[in-house]
């Protein structure tokens, strides 16, 4: 009797966890264009323009989906697979990262290194697609993107390492759950340094100012846009959606790591619903803050970008060092 009860309770835990995971993915897919729309709207209003409305990116997706798919001659599988890979990798990260709940069926696999690797997979597949087109712009964008990613990935790893030292694990749900139960870990110097470092690389990774200008039409200055110039129609819709999902997931990760409050750690449906609501609020707030900040920023000279990213790497390194000593790991 009690055994059956325990099994059904376990089933309920699994059910809520699975539902939370599905909700994460659905919310990221559905919300990513809205986040972009919100950010553009905030920027437009701050610049004194009317703006196209928050739903405009979804309307763009609808428009692009109706168009005829066109593949440039002599492009291979890299070009065709990249849009799908970009969306799928972003979707996988959305499932892995503890955005709503730390108790999902995949939380045991949600390792930090895996997440960074999947993130890189999406970026590299897009860079390969840029090279595959054989155009000067594709190659130029791919080369710039690779320069950026080479500096970004280690910083992401390091800054999350700084947070993983107190948790004693590189498992993201464990880090988040630990921080939620011991908020003091975040208020440490290590937490602050890691937060800044991670915020900078999120800007670089998602092609925002001051690293890349998402609104430019100048082919020669582009990083991300140069790689995807040859895409059109449904493929372009996927590329745009994938990029928007990456921005959403990375902002969500930032929120989960440094403001984990409200993320469900158990099997309660109410907690999961609250987690979902808070996720939307936190990501929207971060997006609005980013959009507002971008109004006052300008794009760095391309050769200054490595300096910025090296600076964020240094902060991440300091965060790891601080975390190592301040948690007493060094004295053991």
């Amino acid at each position: 009797m009690s055994g059956a009860h325990a099994v059904s309770a376990l089933g309920a835990v699994r059910g809520v966890g699975a539902a939370a995971m599905v909700a994460q993915v659905v919310v990221v897919i559905g919300g990513a264009p809205l986040l972009t729309g919100l950010m553009r709207q905030v920027r437009a209003r701050m610049e004194g323009r009317a703006g196209a409305g928050i739903a405009q990116p979804w309307r763009d997706v609808r428009k692009l989906m109706r168009k005829e798919p066109i593949t440039p001659v002599r492009t291979g599988p890299a070009f065709r697979a990249a849009p799908l890979l970009l969306v799928v990798t972003a979707g996988v990260i959305a499932a892995l990262v503890p955005l709503v709940s730390t108790a999902t069926p995949v939380s045991g696999s949600a390792d930090l290194i895996l997440v960074v690797a999947v993130l890189a997979l999406g970026t590299v597949s897009l860079a390969l697609a840029g090279l595959d087109t054989g155009t000067a712009f594709g190659g130029m964008g791919a080369s710039r993107e690779m320069t950026v990613i080479a500096l970004v990935e280690p910083t992401i790893l390091l800054s999350v390492f700084a947070l993983s030292i107190p948790a004693g694990s590189t498992n993201l749900p464990a880090i988040v759950a630990g921080a939620e139960h011991h908020p003091g870990r975040l208020a440490s110097p290590a937490g602050a340094l890691a937060a800044v470092a991670l915020a900078v690389v999120v800007l670089a990774e998602t092609g925002r100012l001051p690293v890349d200008n998402p609104a430019t039409h100048l082919e020669l200055t582009m990083v991300h846009e140069a790689m995807v110039l040859e895409y059109s129609g449904p493929d372009l819709a996927l590329v745009e959606l994938g990029s928007q999902m990456r921005l959403t997931v990375l902002l969500g990760l930032l929120a989960s790591l440094f403001a984990p409050w409200g993320i469900a750690t158990g099997a309660s449906v109410g907690a999961a619903c609250l987690g979902l609501l808070l996720l939307a609020v936190k990501v929207a707030v971060l997006g609005v803050l980013l959009a507002a900040a971008e109004v006052f920023w300008a794009k760095l000279r391309l050769f200054r970008v490595p300096e910025l990213l090296a600076g964020s790497f240094l902060l991440a390194l300091l965060a790891v060092t601080a975390s190592y000593f301040l948690t007493g790991e060094g004295s053991r």
Partner: protein, 491 residues
């Protein structure tokens, strides 16, 4: 002070060398197909005092050839190449005898400016290959850009040879917008030619119209009344204002600082509406007419002062922004020597330390003490930005000063049909630089030849020179800081 001299082809290089050595600048070369000869006019100018010297060289119409002055004057070499492509006049011993205007598909042996050219034949046997110079070496790759661009800009093809991100060579191939304007002028009356002159480069309606009108008035011996000259000076400054603030915003936009661009566009819109009230056209068409000027209203001086304060705020915000300033500083330097050798004009020249300004050297109106000519000598994007920002201040002061004694209305002395020397030059400091137009009239008073020269013709070769060793992502910013006209360059 205009001097007209006839030279033989053999005397031409020596005469040109003497004029250049005396501080002259080659402002214009035009070919004319007279009944018995092909007549080439070289116009050399210097000032102050306003000095203009025309050399008329007659060539055999069966085989028009003249000795090249390309080794004496770089613009001279380009005028000769343009003349060969359009008129079939062959420059002898030209050091760079490549095509300039003629694209690959132009029919062989067809020269549109010859009187017997007729309508353009269909695209036929091409002139032969038109290759780009290839830069070779380890890791050199080419980036072809254009002629169709992503933004709303005119067509031009740029071929970058790049190592990593550093430009080692840039070739700009223009001449995609050949409209045959010079020939469209022929046979029109001076009054109907005005509409064409206003459309040579859409953003320079006043500049080109004024240069054209000055040339027509010199050719007909017309004296323009003082209030009309004053009104013309006012319109010229209003044109400078709206173009300069647009580009100041665009420069900020190109470094990703869009908010200043939005404000610059707002200010521009206010200025264009002001223009609409003054001439009935947002780009100031219809204000300058042969023999005078027409003002429907005067600018609201308080409104202009308020806009001036807004402009100064935009400029200050740009210059106080660390990243924006960093992007501008040291980017794409054009040395004073290069600017002088290439014959650069306008703010491009003044940002590289050359203080030339046709409002000083070839004045059509006495500006008095209000006119200052800002000069910077670093030759980078920042210098071009600063020159234009400071010119806005000067223009605002001039508009304020000029508008004080003006009244709205039409002030025109109609040009006489059959008086005057039948040929004339107009030199005007348009917003982009010095515009020179030469007009000849037929005995019946219609236009027999009009040759306008936009400053872009002189400045385009400076862009690749300034870009050597600049990185590719800084090209759009540099290009915007020059902001040369494609339409005015390719008539």
């Amino acid at each position: 002070m205009l001097t007209v001299r006839d030279t033989t082809p053999d005397e031409l290089p020596a005469a040109a060398e003497q004029l250049l050595a005396d501080g002259g600048r080659l402002a214009l070369v035009a070919a004319h197909h007279d009944a018995d000869a092909v007549r080439i006019v070289h116009l050399f100018v210097s000032g102050p005092p306003d000095t203009r010297t025309e050399l008329h060289t007659r060539l055999d119409p069966a085989a028009p050839e003249l000795p090249s002055i390309a080794r004496l004057s770089f613009p001279g070499g380009r005028f000769e190449r343009e003349m060969r492509d359009l008129h079939g006049v062959v420059p002898l011993d030209h050091p760079l005898p490549r095509r300039l205007v003629r694209h690959f598909h132009w029919p062989r042996g067809w020269y549109p400016m010859r009187p017997d050219a007729g309508p353009p034949p269909p695209f036929a046997e091409p002139e032969g290959p038109y290759p780009f110079l290839e830069a070779e070496g380890d890791g050199v790759y080419e980036i072809p850009v254009g002629p169709v661009h992503a933004g709303l800009i005119e067509p031009g093809h740029f071929r970058f040879s790049v190592v990593g991100e550093t430009i080692i060579k840039l070739k700009a191939r223009l001449w995609f917008v050949h409209k045959g304007i010079e020939q469209l002028f022929q046979g029109r009356t001076p009054e109907t030619g005005l509409a064409l002159a206003e459309r040579i480069s859409g953003d320079t309606a006043v500049g080109h119209a004024l240069a054209y009108c000055l040339a027509v008035e010199e050719a007909t011996g017309t004296t323009v009344p003082e209030p009309a000259r004053r009104a013309r000076a006012l319109l010229l400054e209003l044109e400078r204002l709206h173009n300069h603030i647009t580009d100041i915003g665009a420069l900020c936009n190109d470094v990703g600082h869009g908010i200043l661009n939005n404000h610059a566009q707002r200010i521009r819109e206010h200025l264009l509406r002001l223009n609409h009230g003054i001439t009935g056209h947002r780009l100031l068409r219809g204000g300058v007419v042969p023999g005078g000027a027409v003002l429907q209203a005067l600018p609201d001086r308080d409104r202009l002062r308020a806009l001036g304060a807004d402009i100064r705020e935009v400029v200050a915000l740009a210059l106080n922004h660390g990243v924006v300033l960093d992007r501008f500083t040291g980017t794409a330097r054009l040395s004073a020597q290069a600017a002088r050798d290439l014959g650069c004009l306008g703010y491009v020249a003044r940002a590289s330390g050359l203080p030339d300004d046709a409002r000083r050297s070839h004045p059509f109106h006495d500006y008095g003490e209000t006119l200052t000519v800002p000069v910077h000598d670093t030759g980078d994007v920042l210098a071009r930005f600063l020159v234009r920002a400071e010119e806005i201040d000067t223009s605002l002061a001039l508009v304020d000063h000029l508008a004080a004694d003006l009244t709205p209305g039409r002030t025109v002395t109609p040009p006489a049909r059959d008086h005057g020397p039948r040929a004339g030059n107009g030199i005007v400091e348009g917003w982009r630089g010095t515009i020179t137009t030469r007009v000849e009239l037929a005995p019946d008073g219609t236009l027999s030849r009009v040759k306008p020269v936009d400053p872009s013709f002189f400045n385009w070769p400076a862009l690749p020179v300034a870009l050597a060793d600049t990185i590719v992502p800084d090209f759009p910013l540099t290009n915007k800081s020059f902001n040369l006209s494609y339409a005015g360059n390719d008539l």
